[in-house]
């Protein structure tokens, strides 16, 4: 695990030693990371890794078994109301009652937030194609998933939330809408006071938008730190079918065998040792997809099990 601790920037989100056990057997184990204010952090991991569990813990939707969570310096349990005034949240599906009409949403949600900005909300509705009489009369259930996401985003952006938490926000969006969202998130953090934590399966979004990566797999923190450091920390080595068995097993984080050869992921600091063991291997930069894919395979010197 690689840890990153910001020294000078104020912290938007601080997660320390957070653990959650489920009766099903799944455990989110001892997760620690910090998101400095003014940055975007991508929360990544395969399905069932614990991303949504972590987000629910931050929102106090589920109870943690150990650890601490602070949002903008406030404890998320003791100062729950103050914390939630500062949070804007977008889930992968709508949290609004499906019978409500779009035109009623502001009347319902605005009184919950002392800093609600009517003009800003209306501008967001226009930007997101949700303004007008026709859209206003639509019920939430009749909106597409992408439009529901945009409506939640319009709410999240209209009460000066200092921390946006987005759970798979791009999963219902086409490429253009995803680009727009990424631009919007960049504009949102420009003043250095706002921050974004977003979980995603779409690594192209991370390439474009994320400053930091927190990678969870199997309920454990695998990496947290600057995105560039994440990509530089790993190398992809490629070789012939017989060469995989010659690699030092304890240095191969994961591998995939093809008919003509293999891909194996190793840590950057172990690359020289690996190359000494098997000279002539091809070395490539590991993409985020490669890292996720290969750290979720098992390796026994013969390839993937």
């Amino acid at each position: 695990m690689t840890a990153f601790t910001p020294q000078s920037t104020p912290t938007a989100l601080s997660v320390t030693g957070v653990t959650k056990h489920y009766d099903s057997g799944f455990t989110l184990e001892d997760v620690t990371f910090d998101l400095p204010a003014g940055y975007i952090m991508g929360l990544i991991g395969p399905n069932g890794a614990g991303k949504s569990t972590l987000i629910k813990l931050i929102l106090n939707m589920i109870r943690r078994d150990a650890g601490d969570i602070h949002v903008l310096g406030l404890d998320n349990l003791e100062d729950e109301e103050a914390v939630k005034e500062q949070l804007g949240v977008v889930f992968d599906s709508s949290y609004l009652y499906e019978q409500w009409k779009v035109k009623d949403v502001e009347r319902i949600v605005a009184p919950l937030y002392p800093t609600w900005n009517h003009d800003l909300y209306q501008r967001r509705l226009v930007d997101f194609g949700l303004a007008g009489k026709e859209n206003g009369s639509k019920r939430i259930k009749s909106l597409s998933r992408g439009m529901q996401m945009k409506l939640m985003l319009a709410i999240a952006l209209s009460h000066d939330a200092k921390l946006l938490i987005l759970d798979e926000p791009t999963s219902g969006l086409d490429v253009l809408a995803r680009d727009e969202l990424m631009d919007l998130l960049h504009a949102y953090i420009e003043d250095g006071e706002h921050s974004v934590l977003f979980s995603t399966h779409i690594t192209a979004d991370l390439e474009r938008a994320a400053d930091f990566i927190t990678y969870i797999t199997g309920g454990r923190l695998y990496f947290t730190g600057p995105k560039d450091e994440f990509e530089e920390s790993f190398k992809l080595v490629k070789g012939g079918p017989d060469e995989l068995a010659q690699l030092p097993a304890d240095m191969v984080l994961g591998s995939h065998v093809y008919e003509t050869g293999f891909d194996a992921l190793v840590r950057g600091e172990n690359l020289a040792t690996v190359m000494r063991a098997v000279p002539g291997l091809a070395v490539e930069r590991a993409s985020i997809d490669d890292i996720i894919r290969l750290t979720n395979t098992r390796h026994d010197n013969k390839g993937v099990l």
Binding site: K56, M61, Y97, E98, P111, L112
Partner: protein, 238 residues
């Protein structure tokens, strides 16, 4: 004013705002399908009252009125489960305040039900010449206590349940019990109903101490129910 007093006052205002926010959201969920059917539901018992103009019509009307307000509390729990609780989880209102909101609304429902039953009694006394307004006033208290009982029992069950079907079955059971009571009452021997009413009459003759004891018991049970609900909701996970 000292800074401590100012802080306490600000804290009170903040809690008051949080309570009102939670109550608003409860009402918004409740009336999501529109408010127009509710006046109809509340006024329908008056139609039955005037159509029958007898004991049966009165009992039917009182039961309908009381049940309607009790059912609103049940409906809130069903809507909670249907809408996935997620907005409640996000709203900047502490969980115990959200629970308190529902008990305040429950009390309001009970009081309105009580007033409506008093109005039914009044209308009946105007429509039926030998109807005793005073003798039937205990029904007003009865409606209040029944709605409070529904709130006391149902809100903790609602918080505990994660199943819409379970809550809807529960709603049906409450309705069947109400109907059964209504039908049993009209089918029971007159001597029995007279003796039951006699008990009410005796209680009515000691109205003040009975009201004080009844109120104390109701408040105590209501408070216990709130504590149980707050505990369940505090531990609830989504």
């Amino acid at each position: 004013m000292s800074s401590v007093a100012r802080g306490a006052r600000a804290d009170m205002q903040s809690r008051g705002h949080a309570l009102i926010s939670a109550m608003r959201l409860d009402l918004v969920y409740l009336f999501a399908e529109g408010v127009f059917q509710y006046p109809l539901i509340i006024l329908m018992p008056f139609v039955f009252l005037l159509a029958f103009r007898n004991d049966f019509g009165y009992m039917l009307s009182v039961s309908m009125e009381t049940y309607s307000f009790g059912a609103l509390i049940v409906t809130m729990a069903v809507v909670d489960v249907q809408s996935g609780y997620r907005l409640r989880a996000l709203m900047p209102v502490a969980r115990h305040i959200q629970v308190l909101s529902r008990y305040v609304l429950g009390l309001m429902m009970a009081l309105i039900a009580s007033v409506m039953v008093a109005l039914l009694n009044l209308v009946q006394s105007l429509a039926v010449s030998d109807w005793s307004l005073a003798a039937n006033m205990p029904m007003t208290v009865g409606a209040l206590l029944i709605v409070l009982a529904i709130v006391t029992i149902w809100i903790p069950l609602g918080y505990r349940s994660n199943s819409v079907n379970g809550l809807q079955v529960g709603l049906l059971v409450v309705y069947v019990i109400f109907l059964a009571v209504l039908l049993m009452w009209s089918e029971l021997p007159h001597g029995f109903t007279a003796s039951v009413l006699g008990v009410f009459a005796v209680l009515g003759s000691h109205a003040v101490p009975v009201a004080v004891v009844g109120l104390a018991i109701a408040v105590a049970l209501y408070a216990v129910s709130y504590a149980i609900s707050a505990r369940i909701y505090q531990r609830k996970e989504w």
